[in-house]
């Protein structure tokens, strides 16, 4: 029972958000199983776990692939709350999906209450350049405004698929290390204070 977490690979929890049909499931399945599904099957929620090597360190990634158009907000919040990093996906062939990213960003910030939550803005379906509706500039401007990175991917050709997941995991890892450091730096009595604070609540 008292096994130290050191022996366990770190676990990073990633959540895919975005409108329906932008390729959240396609990106997830491409990353997980190197497969691309042509037919569109609406997702309710799916979760996957994979062991990977992140810069030489063995880690586990938990991916939650969510539904796009949510009428069940309560369920969504249960997931968002436990997510440690978010891939916010839109399709470069559909302006509406790009506009919707604003909402998703807000929902996440509302639940996580943290401006610096690991987060990537992802423009998917970049293999369909001829049908592009959202310019690279537009998207990266929004990303800059949010203080996040913008990456274009194709779940079909696998372009940048690994990159978005790995970049996000690096952000999550860095975030966790930062949290650890502030914790250790302040020492034990800090914890005691925290304890009391919780009691007060």
């Amino acid at each position: 029972m008292s096994k130290k977490p050191v022996t366990q690979p770190a676990l990073h929890k990633v959540i895919m958000v975005g409108s329906g049909g932008v390729g959240k499931s396609a990106l997830t399945l491409q990353f997980m199983y190197d497969e691309f599904v042509e037919d569109y099957e609406p997702t309710k929620a799916d979760s996957y776990r994979k062991k990977i090597l992140l810069d030489g360190e063995e880690v586990q990634i938990d991916i939650l692939d969510t539904a796009g158009q949510e009428d069940y907000a309560a369920i969504r919040d249960n997931y968002f709350r436990s997510g440690e990093g978010f891939l916010c996906i839109f399709s470069i062939t559909e302006d509406e999906s790009f506009q919707a990213t604003q909402d998703f960003r807000e929902q996440i910030l509302r639940v996580k209450n943290d401006e610096n939550i690991p987060f990537l803005l992802v423009g998917n379906k970049c293999d369909l350049e001829e049908r592009r509706k959202v310019t690279y500039q537009e998207a990266s401007d929004r990303a800059k405004q949010w203080g996040v990175t913008y990456v274009e991917t194709s779940a079909k050709t696998r372009e940048h698929v690994d990159k978005v997941f790995f970049d996000l995991m690096r952000e999550i890892r860095a975030r966790k290390m930062e949290e650890n450091k502030t914790n250790n730096g302040r020492g034990k009595d800090k914890n005691k204070r925290k304890k009391i604070k919780c009691v007060i609540l």
Partner: protein, 518 residues
Amino acid sequence: MDFESPDVMKDFPGLYASEIHKTKSNDPEYSDDAEKVTKKDILIGKRKDKKDKKDKERGYAALEGESSAEESYEVRSPSKSKKSKSFKFPTKSREKREKSREKDKEVTEKKKDKDKRTDKKIEKDKEKCKLEKKEKRIKSEDWCDIGEVLPIFGVSLKLAIEHGRCHDGIDLPVPVRACIEYIEDYGLSFENVYKVSGPKSKVLHLKKLYNQREHVNLLDYDVPTVTSLLKMFLRDLPEPVFTSDLLIRFEEAGAILNVAVREKHLKILVGNLPESNRLLLSWIIVHLYNVTLNERCNKMNVQNIALCLSSTLQTSQRLLTSLLFHCPALFPNTVLEHYVYPLTSTSQLPDDPEVMEQELLKQESLLAQIHSEMNVGFISKQREELLWEVQRIITQLKRKLKTAHKDREMLFEKIDEQHVEETVENEAERSTTPTISSEAEVQSECVEETRVIETDATAEAPVSDAKLSDSSSCEKSSLKEVEPPEVPVSVPENKLLNNALALLQIKNTFLNNLKESF
């Protein structure tokens, strides 16, 4: 001590029937504080207690949170909560004080050796504190005990089923299923089963574990404790299982002298019960009936059982006796099915598509319950872990089912193709000279599928995927007369089926290996 004698009731007034009054009075030993505490109390007066519990939970979560599924299963095991309990009989209010002191000490001790490891988590918890403060008021219930807000014991049957749902579609509260299962397996030949009571402290402890959704292993307890637990559940129901509306009519029916008329009336009344009441009643009566069938071993005949359980069921001995007497007629279809909990991520997924479908339903039921518990504010690291885990199992099951269905489709296609091929061969043999026939056989072996598919269109055979074409076939004309389903199952077809099945199995093991390697 002569248990058979009804006098025993006078000597031990608290033993059976009068326990009901005890519960209703304020005897602190039997009324556990859970029920007496309002939500407000929980949020204000009992804050400290809650916090300790919370921290304990968090402490575990901190250890297990980032660990393998194997250990997260351990979180659900009963061991931890059991260890922290002592089974004493202290007196009245002192008990409470002692308990809380004990608990505090324990928690501090636990905290000490966990502090180092939980630093990070505590930081997070703190953030969460802040966060949750901002959230809806209801969210602060996170700091109280689910067993006190959404208990299984002491609430209406409907709520008990909701809070302690069995996920296999038989809607009885988990402790009821578990107790009956246990007694059916280990208690039927136990002497004076249901007459002998278990130690109250243990019974109350079990009740608490169930209320808090802890994993309970009844095998760690003895028969009297388990029968007492089931009795406690029934006694704690605010309304008799017969419902207040129908109880009098049940009593009247049970008193009818004419056996046939009595049975008829009872049958009608049972049919009039709400579904969940009928289900619970059927299980209880069928189970008690099974107990009386073993009267020779356990010394509990119908009269004894009726004596011991009538007050528990808030009814008369006469009605209970009647129900037991008519049990086979009243509940002919009740099967006391064992409840198998939803799988955890450490267990193998089933391979049989039908079992997979059943498991999927279970997991989805479990998922819905986790969501609904979280939605009323019971949010903890542990529950979040469980949420992701169950979601993961559902995803895996769905994927596996999809492949299984695909495989089956392919298998059927192959079989259908084989049907046509067989037909073709038969026809060839019939309509040509032996030499040509053998030639045809050889040919059919090398061309295999392609030729068959070509014939398909003409033959109206159930093969659908005619993508390939090959013009080598020469039997087209004769095919129309042959009805493929009439061809007897021949050796090569069986062989093909076996091969396909073997292939499927290999695929499944491969999938399992893959799954394990994740």
